[in-house]
């Protein structure tokens, strides 16, 4: 490995996107431009989600008397939305199609950054405000039907959500499937959709549904299994993801190095996010365990 690649490693590790100019300064075919990706099947839903939320916030702002809530959740939502855009539309997506490492960063952004932020913002209410009135009532009614409600409740309980999200992560990282997703655009969309959807369910379950202690436990388990998957990928002496790492050479990495770095991204930074969330949940759990007026009165009954 030479110094140029050393630069590459550092910047990849620490600055992700900031590394781009350093990575490609050798006049490869892609050096001049990092194109944005405008896949209508991706851009349209993201744009709608952004538009609806903007419209909804404006309408909500006019009626509500809780501006602070709106501002906080707005910041969360837009940060989440922007990380989704940077993962799926910005040049990062283009890079992800060429380098496994960037693809992994993209996935971590979708699953461990965008999803929890959007979930924290609880945007459904605002979305509804963004809809025209008849549609709003229709959607609200649909959401309240027993089937939808029960399905959501069943899925977003702690254990099913953790299992579902874990299953999505492990199944898509089967080398054959992962490689297929890189070459088949339909599968690729499906992959990102299932990552994001299961991540939203997972984070919803952790943040809003589960008891804090259980949430911490599920987050810890998720940290453990994603770290192990990352470690498996990072430590494999064979290139398992053939077509995903095919182009690594153009970027100054061997395919094996690309795979190792990708695994490392999942193992390290990915794991830290889950671990951090788990610790935050535990802290809330412990700190709140004697509050709420229940304790003293009920013990001394």
């Amino acid at each position: 490995m030479n110094a140029r690649q050393g630069d590459f490693t550092l910047t990849t590790a620490l600055l992700a996107i900031g590394a781009l100019p350093a990575a490609a300064h050798d006049g490869e075919p892609h050096a001049s431009a990092f194109p944005w990706t405008f896949d209508p099947w991706i851009v349209t839903p993201i744009a709608i989600a952004g538009g609806l939320y903007a419209l909804g916030s404006v309408k909500f702002q006019q009626r509500a008397n809780r501006p602070l809530f709106a501002i906080n959740s707005g910041i969360l939502y837009w940060t989440g939305w922007l990380s989704l855009v940077s993962a799926l539309v910005s040049p990062l997506h283009f890079l992800g199609e060429h380098l496994f490492t960037f693809h992994m960063i993209e996935h971590e952004l979708v699953m461990a950054v965008a999803a929890p932020l959007v979930v924290l913002a609880r945007p459904v209410g605002i979305f509804l405000w963004g809809l025209p009135r008849p549609l709003r009532h229709l959607v609200r009614d649909v959401m309240k039907t027993g089937l939808v409600w029960r399905t959501w409740n069943a899925l977003s309980a702690g254990t099913p959500a953790t299992l579902l999200h874990g299953l999505a992560i492990w199944v898509w990282h089967a080398p054959t499937l992962f490689d297929a997703a890189v070459s088949d655009i339909l599968l690729h969309r499906l992959q990102h959709l299932s990552f994001f959807a299961t991540a939203v369910i997972f984070w919803w379950a952790m943040i809003w549904r589960s008891d804090r202690g259980m949430a911490a436990w599920h987050l810890f388990l998720t940290m453990l299994h994603t770290s192990i998957l990352g470690a498996l990928i990072a430590l494999s002496p064979q290139v398992a993801y053939l077509s995903q790492t095919r182009m690594a050479q153009e970027w100054g990495l061997t395919p094996l190095e690309d795979q190792q770095l990708a695994g490392m991204v999942m193992w390290g930074p990915g794991g830290i996010i889950y671990a951090g969330a788990a610790l935050a949940m535990l802290a809330l759990w412990i700190a709140g365990s004697s509050r709420g007026g229940l304790n003293a009165s009920r013990v001394h009954s």
Binding site: M1, N2, A3, G6, T9, L10, P237
Partner: protein, 312 residues
């Protein structure tokens, strides 16, 4: 002897690592002194009449503790970047000038100089390298895990059966550098040393040219007799002496054993006496090693050690 110390750095990597070690130790020393001052102050400070756990002082303590934790984060962040810089400097560009394949085994080192043009050759427990050149060592093990370590030249790297690891050495100054197996590898782990002799390009070339020659033929009668003993007494079943009928591969290649500084992986200096002692009773000198005790008469022993010594 020969230098074997991470602090006595004589190679490119060794010097980088020494600088890093010194720097980190200094930073940590400062941190430790800082913490000790805080500890001493907490223990000895004068306490006024009131117990000091009012709300305000608790908050002040909180600020201090948070500040100290933030400083911890900064320091370990800085040390991580320092380590990273060193790692990057260690992995320099460039193809190696020389490649040596290392096959570690219980409890000695086999070194193969791979050179398609000039011809490959083998040594044991001793390598010569040219000063200032990049030497790539390809590390393999034929039995258990060993670790290749020449502290004065650079860090260590394990030799794992079923895998190959790489390490690059570059000696900056001529000298004799001692290395030793650093991963516990069984009974005689302690006696698994080797020497790296860094010399100027010219003398390195001469040495390599000599090593490529078949084993020396001497006119000395005692040595010739020793050769006959070597062939007759099963020695040839395990050892190779190029240019003779001895082609065994279990033990070290003895073609130029007389030119080496030590025998039995750094156990003893290489003299006729120590050779004789070793051949006479290897199991007492290095219990458990794979060289069997071959019964010899006194004359045979003298002849054999003379022959070994003559293989310069």
């Amino acid at each position: 002897g020969g230098s074997q110390s991470a602090l006595d750095a004589q190679g490119y990597s060794g010097a980088l690592l020494r600088d890093l070690i010194v720097l980190i130790v200094v930073v940590c020393l400062v941190v430790w002194i800082g913490v000790m001052i805080m500890l001493a102050w907490s223990l000895t400070r004068r306490r006024d009449g009131q117990a000091g756990d009012s709300r305000g002082s608790e908050q002040r303590l909180g600020v201090w503790v948070s500040g100290a934790v933030a400083a911890t984060v900064l320091i370990i962040g800085g040390l991580t970047i320092l380590s990273f810089q060193t790692t990057r400097s260690l992995d320099r560009a460039g193809d190696p000038d020389l490649t040596i394949r290392v096959r570690a085994q219980q409890w000695w080192w086999q070194f193969v100089y791979e050179d398609a043009d000039a011809g490959s050759f083998q040594t044991a427990n001793e390598i010569h390298i040219p000063v200032g050149k990049e030497v790539r060592v390809r590390l393999e093990s034929t039995d258990v895990i060993h670790s290749f370590w020449v502290p004065s030249l650079g860090g260590k790297q394990d030799l794992v059966p079923g895998r190959e690891n790489l390490l690059t050495l570059r000696a900056e100054r001529p000298g004799v550098y001692r290395g030793q197996c650093a991963e516990f590898c069984g009974l005689q782990h302690s006696h698994m040393a080797f020497f790296v002799i860094a010399e100027e390009e010219e003398s390195y070339r001469q040495w390599a040219a000599t090593q490529r020659q078949p084993g020396a033929q001497t006119g000395e009668a005692e040595a010739s007799a020793g050769k006959a003993v070597f062939m007759a007494r099963r020695c040839a079943a395990c050892h190779t002496i190029r240019g003779t009928g001895a082609t065994g591969t279990t033990g070290p290649d003895l073609t130029h054993v007389g030119s080496r500084r030590t025998i039995a992986a750094g156990l003893m200096d290489n003299t006729r006496g120590s050779l004789a002692a070793w051949i006479a009773d290897p199991q007492t000198l290095k219990p458990g090693n794979n060289m069997p005790l071959v019964p010899l008469t006194g004359d045979e022993l003298r002849q054999l050690s003379a022959y070994m010594e003559s293989l310069k």
